[in-house]
């Protein structure tokens, strides 16, 4: 238990745990309404085509079919980011990937709906498919999005902080490399599901497995042309999210429209294959990284270029692109930094945010590059990192405001625990240790759509019977956010967390929270809830103080009691509430939170800022079979700078889950499409999209580093994403330690390890990875003078800096 706290920092059962172990939790597909119809979507069988004709009459004629719709019923475009509203609920003019929905059927049974799909006539005029980043760059036409300005280039960005040329000129050693991070997907256990109910008085209710009910709410109102006040979105407990349920989805709109047309509730539950088509997962990314260092290993400059395979729609892609360049600077000091990033449209399921959003890819390159630098300069990789950690309470060269930073302690902890000093570089051949570090946001500094309102809000209601209810728009996706609300309220009111009722993720009942993404919930709802609970407590305090004629400071709240120690008075919490309610009327308080203003003022400064940054350092020990290339993780040591744990066991669960998912990405998880076969997804199944079973998972020793951050509630920072990031580069670094070759690709598959070993055996560079970076006409960078050089966060005026290289 943390000092001064009663609840915060303890190991506590999550408030929804009993429901989850007894099967009582109601997920979206468990919602059953009377007269409910079932919806199925007809999805495009062609990767890129113009729609010539859709004839629904065959489907409508089938037994059990009640309604069938196509794109023209919902002509309004939408998208999660206002800058790329390029989606339609059902395709209108063209289809952009295999799996793009074109029609929806509602029928009395799911089977009837499925059979009806085959009776829909869909005439398509195939177009050339764009299957790769390189092809997208070199094939401006046909454009996947005819309105896109630059052919099939969705976004190009270029930022320069300081003088990168000077940094490289002054360096003693430059590492340059190409890396590829394969695309992968969330694979939440729960398939997306939604149920819509329309009432003739014009009110629409949607239950959906979404991480972002607020954004779904906005999109439903917009696309269905309904007043937002008439639309209610209830996010059911998510059976896992990981970022895969943060976009508004076609199926959510389709069931709403069908409910409105039929006057009956409509349900959809996607098949696993369809979930692969929803995707929005990790962008496959090609990375060119250059890092310049002094002889002693001090970084003088870094230049990253990334090319993201975006898939067919924008989704969060503009943000993803910026994120591949945002967080390189927050772990180690990087005085001069340049980033060029590009996202391409291809005819594949759209990519978006997955755990770590845009940052695991460059982190993979960066942490391998540091390993190479350490080897080249004969410095221990741990020391190389330790000697240049970004200082606490500082501004990075790209204007990210760092509060607490426990990275040094993280590194020292795992170095000690793993026996790194005695064992790194000294294990028998075939065994290796790899170290990597990372950092992640505790929520984004800016909302997805521009507004000045709070990012998170909570209401606390006290009942005269002593009951306490907290209302908040946040969504529990398994990470335990409902419990965080209860623990915070319990801490502030001095009561048992299990007597608190938590009402979340219901746009009719709960104040807005932007959603469960970017690791924002603990920090942002934590602040809002703490504020609301503290206000409720003060209301009780003042009521009791008045009634008992004591000063407020004499009153304490603990153990479900309200006490005035000096007078020997002890009231049950309920009694105190009743007294206060008699004085003040019903006690309902609210709190809200908006992150501090960002330090950067240049275009692009909106991606990267966060109230606080978490830090992780991980070491993995692996065994590499040199005859087959199989890499087996033996053990992971992971230290995570959490600031302050709210609930220790939940935090450890997040660390272990992140390590697990990171190992999966590192070793086997990958979305694969067959470029020569119309871009079909090669393996849209849980059997063939490989994820770790309990036999592949290794033991993890977790260390929580608690250095409270001034910007976190009780000092808390994020944990849900950061500890994933070190795993892929740690695995690659460990493979190098084990067998002396580099695999500069994720996943590190057996065939790639063998390719690297073969290259080494043939006297070539002992590596396997991408060989070239496609040519891109990068824009003139936005130049920003770093804070250390006297910059004010604004871009330099064009022409005031030097010419672009």
């Amino acid at each position: 238990m943390s000092e001064g706290h009663r609840i915060i920092g303890r190991n506590l059962r999550k408030i929804d745990a009993i429901d989850k172990v007894t099967g009582r939790t109601r997920y979206a597909d468990d919602v059953v309404l009377p007269r409910m119809l079932y919806c199925k979507l007809l999805r495009s069988p062609v990767a890129h085509a113009n729609i010539k004709r859709i004839d629904l009459s065959g489907a409508l004629a089938q037994e059990g079919v009640v309604a069938a719709i196509s794109g023209e019923t919902m002509p309004t475009a939408y998208g999660i980011l206002p800058v790329s509203e390029d989606e339609h609920a059902l395709c209108i003019d063209k289809v952009r990937f295999i799996g793009d929905p074109v029609a929806a059927v509602a029928a009395e049974t799911e089977h009837a709906a499925e059979l009806a799909l085959d009776a829909i006539e869909l005439e398509l005029e195939p177009l050339e498919t764009i299957g790769s980043v390189e092809k997208a760059i070199n094939t401006p036409e046909p454009r996947i999005h005819p309105g896109n300005r630059r052919g099939n280039i969705h976004k190009l960005v270029s930022l320069e902080f300081g003088d990168i040329e000077q940094a490289f000129a002054e360096a003693d050693h430059v590492e340059e490399g190409l890396f590829h991070y394969g695309g992968n997907t969330h694979l939440a256990m729960e398939q997306h599901a939604a149920v819509a109910d329309w009432s003739p008085d014009g009110r629409l209710t949607l239950w959906s497995s979404t991480q972002t009910p607020h954004y779904v709410h906005r999109v439903l109102a917009k696309v269905l042309d309904l007043p937002a006040a008439q639309v209610r979105v209830i996010a059911t407990p998510n059976g896992g999210g990981f970022g895969g349920k943060t976009d508004p989805f076609n199926h959510e709109l389709a069931v709403c429209k069908l409910a409105m047309l039929t006057g009956r509730p409509v349900k959809i539950c996607l098949t696993r294959e369809e979930v692969f088509y929803c995707h929005r997962g990790r962008h496959a990314t090609l990375i060119q990284a250059r890092t310049a260092v002094k002889r002693d290993g001090t970084i003088t400059g870094m230049h990253f270029r990334t090319l993201l395979d975006g898939g067919a729609y924008g989704s969060y892609g503009v943000a993803s692109t910026f994120y591949t360049g945002a967080l390189q600077t927050v772990t180690y000091e990087v005085p001069h930094y340049r980033f060029d990033g590009g996202r391409l449209f291809t005819n594949k399921p759209p990519c978006g945010p997955k755990r770590g959003h845009g940052t695991p890819q460059p982190r993979f390159a960066l942490e391998i590059q540091l390993d190479r630098i350490a080897a080249a300069l004969r410095i221990d990789p741990a020391d190389l990192r330790l000697q240049q950690i970004q200082p606490a309470n500082s501004l990075t060269s790209n204007y990210l405001r760092i509060g607490s930073i426990g990275l040094a302690k993280c590194i020292k902890t795992v170095v000690e625990a793993s026996g790194w000093r005695e064992r790194y570089g000294k294990l028998e051949r075939g065994r290796g240790l790899g170290l990597a570090c990372s950092s992640y946001l505790s929520g984004a500094g800016l909302p997805i759509y521009w507004n000045e309102m709070p990012h998170s809000a909570a209401t606390v209601k006290l009942d005269r019977g002593g009951g306490v209810t907290v209302f908040c728009g946040s969504t529990d996706v398994g990470q335990g956010s409902d419990s965080v609300l209860a623990f915070v309220v319990a801490e502030e009111l001095g009561i048992d967390p299990y007597q608190i009722r938590v009402v979340t993720a219901d746009t009719d009942l709960t104040p807005v929270d932007l959603g469960s993404y970017s690791s924002r919930v603990t920090v942002m709802t934590g602040h809002a809830t703490r504020q609301a609970a503290a206000a409720a407590r003060e209301r009780v305090r003042s009521g009791v103080a008045e009634k008992l004629a004591v000063s407020g400071e004499q009153i304490t709240f603990a153990d479900g009691k309200v006490r005035v120690a000096e007078k020997g008075i002890e009231l049950a919490f309920a009694e105190a509430v009743a007294i206060a309610e008699a004085r003040h009327g019903t006690i309902v308080t609210s709190g809200s939170y908006k992150p501090p203003e960002t330090a950067g003022k240049f275009k692009g400064a909106g991606v990267g800022p966060s109230p606080a940054y978490s830090y992780s350092a991980g070491i993995v020990e692996v065994e590499v079979d040199e005859q087959t290339g199989f890499v087996t993780p033996i053990k992971v040591w992971m230290a995570h700078d959490i600031g302050q744990a709210i609930n220790r066991s939940a935090v450890i669960g997040q660390v272990e889950g992140s390590v697990y998912m990171g190992l999966g990405e590192a070793l086997m998880e990958e979305m694969v499409y067959r470029e020569k076969r119309n871009l079909v997804h090669k393996i849209p199944s849980m059997l063939e999209y490989k994820s770790l079973t309990s036999l592949e998972m290794c033991e993890v020793e977790t260390f929580l580093i608690e250095d409270p951050d001034p910007n976190g509630p009780y000092g808390a920072k994020e944990v849900g994403q950061g500890p994933l990031l070190p795993m892929p580069p740690a695995i690659a670094n460990a493979v190098y330690d084990a067998v002396g070759v580099r695999v500069d690709m994720v996943p590190v598959t057996p065939s790639r390890v063998m390719a690297a070993l073969d290259a080494a055996a043939r006297g070539k560079a002992p590596r396997h990875g991408p060989e070239r970076m496609p040519q891109v006409s990068w824009p003139e960078p936005t130049r920003v003078t770093p804070p250390w050089a006297g910059g004010d966060g604004h871009a330099q005026r064009p022409g005031s800096g030097k010419q672009a290289s």
Binding site: I18, T22, A650, E656, L687
Partner: protein
């Protein structure tokens, strides 16, 4: 082709139940849609994830690949029947206390697979636990808190 429904008499969580189902209805569908027992989850319906695990005559099996019609005379235990009335099974308590359920979606299946293990082997080693649960994917926990919870429950069951 319309096929007649089949009458199936089985015990679900100890309760004698008569189902009238068409042959193609899986046990998973029958439990969720006919018996109202939505605690049994589904993640693929192809036997590739383990979410729909139930006990059929004590044996952990995938309800997505078993016909309800094939369960005549069988005893089926689902997550709703794991607790003894209001008293949680030690596995349920341990899972709740140790954070073994995050999103909770794989949890019913994992619990039933673990329950069968502990009947068969009251003192499983960690490796035996990993083996027994290797047919149940979990995307949240990294399995570690699940293994810990099974170990704790085994210990509690042994000392009861």
């Amino acid at each position: 082709m319309l096929v007649d429904k089949i009458t199936v008499n089985l015990k679900i969580n100890g309760l004698a139940t008569e189902l009238r189902v068409p042959p193609q209805k899986t046990l998973l569908e029958a439990l969720r849609e006919e018996a109202g027992l939505t605690g049994t989850k589904h993640g693929c319906e192809l036997g590739e994830c383990g979410a729909c695990t139930v006990l059929i005559n004590g044996s952990p099996q995938l309800s997505c690949l078993v016909l309800a019609a094939a369960c005549d005379g069988a005893e089926v235990l689902t997550i709703e029947g794991l607790a003894n009335g209001p008293e949680l099974h030690p596995l349920q308590s341990a899972f709740a206390e140790l954070g073994a359920a995050q999103c909770g979606y794989c949890t019913p299946g994992v619990l039933l697979a673990a329950a069968a293990l502990l009947v068969r082997n009251p003192s499983p080693t960690r490796d035996e636990i990993r083996q027994a649960l290797s047919g149940n994917l979990c995307r949240c926990t990294g399995y570690l808190q699940i293994w810990n919870a099974v170990e704790r429950a085994a210990e509690q069951l042994r000392t009861r």
